[in-house]
């Protein structure tokens, strides 16, 4: 009996030593006919599905435009649902990271999902480009080495929040504002940028409130906001919560006439449904599509032909650019040797960061050392009754800074 145990322990030890494999290199080898595998992680269920579908379609069109093939290998696109939250982001990123054939990933939509997800991907050496994470943290130098493989083709909210504050203070001439966020990384950071800029310009922030995702009864918290008598409320949240706040603002004494402004996270026709008539006269900040060139017009035509509808959220073009950025970089670093295609993901990240002057749909894409690649043009829109009737967000900017 004792002998058996000794043998057992010895075997266990030997095996566990043998079992520790060397850390694999970061080179993906593709045999003939094996696809170049890109993974996306977008919101594909829940209230913000329109955002996920919008970006997904952008990526699909980009792959089509690229020719569907890379050096003779077909391009394969698979995806996960990041559910617009940290929990979904962790799960989606873990799934992508556990697939050794993934070369690079595109996502996430929501910054809350990216914050835990990106380090998980990067640990496995998978570079990631996001079309719609706008939270400043993600490309902040303070975010550390976990985010070294992360780039984005959309604007940084340092810009969007400032635009909103300047609009409220200079254009509307309002001096007292309140903000409300839902605890997501996106909303929290964006309202903070707004509040900081607004105070710097000389305005007063009466209160910075927060609700929980899934809350429906916003009237009490709005009553609390009303006690500070703001003239302007900034509510940069996602569709469901923004919808509730917008609707219920009109029902709270003291807030009937207050100017409301939301941001790109709820810039979707679904928001019109969620907010109903209360949306008339409301302001939104979002990328300026009227300033884009011919290539965007062509993209719209393709989109309409392929899916039968116009884009539903503001990040389809950024998604297109994100996919193009990745594909171009892979094209640059992929080495054909005999029948196989070798892609060194370390070289790939370097090539992605080295992207300069790429002509994208959203402008000229040039990445800085932190991973911000966008050419940001943020405009302010105002919803009219006609927009509500048509069920589409406004397309002509109401105000722009540049």
């Amino acid at each position: 009996m004792k002998n058996v145990l000794k043998v057992f322990v010895a075997v266990c030890f030997l095996l566990s030593v043998a079992a520790m494999p060397a850390v694999a290199g970061n080179v993906v080898k593709l045999q003939k006919g094996e696809p170049v595998h890109l993974a996306y992680w977008f919101v594909t269920s829940g209230a913000n599905t329109s955002l996920g579908m919008d970006t997904f379609r952008g990526v699909e069109i980009a792959i089509e435009d690229f020719g569907g093939k890379l050096k003779g290998h077909p391009i394969k696109l698979t995806g996960q649902d990041e559910m617009c939250g940290p929990e979904g982001g962790q799960a989606a990123a873990s799934k992508i990271a556990s697939d050794p054939s993934v070369i690079a990933s595109i996502g996430s939509n929501c910054s809350s999902a990216a914050k835990p997800g990106v380090p998980i991907l990067w640990k496995m050496g998978i570079p990631n480009v996001s079309p719609s994470n706008t939270a400043p943290f993600l490309t902040d130098p303070a975010s550390g080495p976990d985010f070294d493989g992360y780039l984005r083709t959309c604007h940084n909210d340092k810009i969007q929040g400032a635009v909103a504050a300047e609009f409220a203070f200079t254009k509307l001439g309002l001096k007292k504002a309140a903000t409300i966020h839902d605890g997501s990384v996106y909303a929290e950071q964006l309202q903070q940028v707004f509040a900081d800029t607004f105070t710097k310009l000389g305005g007063t922030i009466t209160s910075q409130e927060a609700v929980s995702p899934g809350d429906t009864d916003m009237r009490p918290v709005l009553t609390k906001i009303a006690s500070g008598k703001p003239e302007f409320i900034y509510l940069p949240m996602f569709i469901a919560e923004s919808g509730h706040v917008t609707r219920q603002c009109k029902e709270v004494a003291g807030l009937e006439k207050v100017a409301l402004m939301s941001a790109d996270g709820s810039f979707s026709p679904d928001f019109l449904k969620a907010a109903g008539k209360a949306v008339i006269g409301m302001y939104h900040s979002s990328p300026d599509f009227s300033a884009l060139g011919d290539s965007y017009g062509k993209f719209l035509e393709k989109h309409k032909a392929k899916y039968g509808i116009s884009p539903e959220a503001p990040f389809h073009a950024h998604a297109y650019d994100a996919a193009m950025l990745i594909l171009n970089a892979i094209d640059k670093v992929a080495v054909v040797s005999g029948d196989t295609l070798e892609i060194d993901r370390e070289a790939l990240v370097k090539a992605m960061y080295a992207t300069k002057g790429m002509k994208g749909l959203t402008g000229t894409i040039t990445c800085d050392e932190h991973g911000d690649c966008a050419d940001p043009k943020i405009a302010v829109y105002k919803t009219s009754e006609a927009d509500l009737k048509a069920g589409l967000m406004p397309t002509v900017p109401f105000w722009k800074k540049y």
Binding site: Q208, D217, V221, G276
Partner: protein, 353 residues
Amino acid sequence: MFQKWKDRVTITDIVMWMIGGTLLLLCLWGSVSTIRAGLYTKSHWIDFLIFGLAQGSIYALIATGYTMVYGVLKMINFAHGEVFMSGPFTGYFVATAMWRSDFLDNHPIMAIITIFAVAMFVSTMIAFLVEKIAYRPLRGAPRLIPLITAIGASFFLQYLFKGLYGSGINAYPDIEILNGFWMIFGIRVLKIQVIVIIAAIVLMLVLYNFIMLTRVGKAIRAVSEDKEAAALMGINVDAMISTTFIIGGMAAGAAGVLYALMFKQVHFFMGFLPGLKAFTAAVLGGIGNIPGAMLGGIFLGLIESVAPALFLDGLGIIAPYQLKDAIAFTMLVMVLIFRPTGILGERLASKKA
């Protein structure tokens, strides 16, 4: 004397009194400093109260379903939140169809009645089927088993409706006659809230009287007292349990439409949180006790609306409304510590112990 006192009071009692006392002091201190800071005027407080009352009466309606099922089956019907969701989610399609054909604008009262009818029918059917499929075969099993089937039924229903109706945003159309305000005693009150509160009170009165005065109600009460004895008295126990689920389903369906009219957005997950809250309300009031459920619901609604501003604002806690659920649950735990059977649960407790 001291020895006697020492025997009766244990360390755990002292710990609990200390926790309770600390929380009470904190609440008092918070309230005093909030009121002294004078952030809110009288009309703000009245608004808080009315908002809480409206929300609370919906909780109360759902809670009656929980409490009645608990009464007859002694089980937590986890799927009740989904019963609540199924009605208004289906009603949404009826409402949109009527809105498109202008019926909603031309005959709003008729339209609203139709929505109620459809939603209550669907909720009732779901409640009935859940009982028949998931609970009835397990009548004799230990209590954890139906709890798991209830959780299973809850997940199944959520994702069934997600699969059937999709997971995107669906919002009820605006109904003109429900928009705007009424002035009652010089207080500005939202029409929809008045309607919700009145409808909930009427429904609860009907329900209560049905249970207390009719033969069927009497039979249900008999079943919840003692199943075997009720069966011996010639009561069809299974039929009474089904009836209970049907009544609970109707109340949940009605509550669902009221909820949808108040908040507009409907989605497959909308039942979870109100369901949890209503269950909390039922326990707060003393589970198995119908007036208790109503009281618990309204109490919970008021706490959620008033407490963050009243207790926490004065303590200098930022963004207090993020913590409203924490306050609600703390309240629940406190009530259970000092009254382990809920506010009105006395009768039941003495019997069950």
